[in-house]
Symmetry: C2
Subunit: 175 residues, 2 copies
């Protein structure tokens, strides 16, 4: 799973929560899903403003990423932990230190009577630091995202290159 930091304004103040239940659900228009436990402080802010951000921390941010996952916005003021900026939606706080930020408009909230709410958002803008780009697009080896494994609760780097997609499969045709 990817390690992401979801941002939303709660009571007019930026708040953030570390989330691994995040995935892309559509390419065009670009959409993603984030699942937030109902206990989280952030959920009300997403619903109120109908905007949120998904920030991708790099591995050098692992301590602060874990810290904001360990502590609720009810008890600490997370707006002071980062340099924050806002984009065209005006109410989705984004983290300047994170090399990649996705600014999202809330499209739908799903509730399956379980322990989470699922927020589906359209990505209206993406912001990336120049140094993580190759040919104008995010490069995973420069971005250095944090992979999360559950139950054992560990963070991992992205490792070695295995192969080229839509290419390495042609080896099977030869066999």
């Amino acid at each position: 799973m990817p390690t992401t930091i979801v941002g939303a304004n709660v009571n007019d103040k930026a708040n953030f929560v570390t989330i691994a239940y995040c995935g892309i659900i559509q390419h065009r228009p670009p959409m993603l899903a984030v699942s937030l436990g109902k206990i989280h402080y952030t959920n009300a802010g997403l619903k109120e403003n109908r905007t949120f951000s998904v920030n991708i921390p790099s591995e050098d941010m692992v301590e602060i990423t874990d810290y904001i996952g360990m502590n609720s916005g009810k008890t600490i003021d997370k707006s002071r932990l980062f340099e924050i900026f806002y984009g065209k939606l005006e109410t989705a706080p984004m983290i300047k230190e994170a090399p990649l930020n996705l600014e999202c408009k809330l499209i739908k909230v799903l509730d399956f009577d379980g322990n989470s709410e699922v927020f589906l958002g359209e990505i209206v803008e993406a912001y990336a630091k120049e140094e993580i780009l190759t040919n104008g697009l995010p490069d995973i080896k420069k971005l250095k995202p944090i992979i999360f494994s559950m139950h054992d609760n560990n963070y991992w780097q992205v490792g070695e290159h295995i192969g080229k997609a839509w290419q390495i499969g042609s080896e099977c045709e030869k066999k």
Copy 2:
């Protein structure tokens, strides 16, 4: 993004498609979302049987994983590429060679008038090879899943350990 192989019976025959748009959306009950482009052959089978599987290939399966992503079930018979088994749902084909299989019941299909359909499923059973377990749970370093990066279309290994979740963050409190 994770690299997964989604399985479904199409016209009573097992078919598989390689998908990176897959993410967990709820812990309890366990649910996931897979997004399949509307052009895919597999979609009709998911809707017909209302069951599907998500198989996690290990890095030694990268060639066959890419191959089934490159070729449609319309043109090749993918039921012969793997040893297939069925579980309690009876119509969700799973791949024996894959070290981890999630058997899913279709709960909801979402369509945002884009190029994909989003299938939300409840995981009713998980099957894992003994050799990827540590203390009875899947171990990411033994599973060796394939990470996918888009646009540049590359497959990657999971790399080195960065830290322990709900632990490394306490370093911030000391600062």
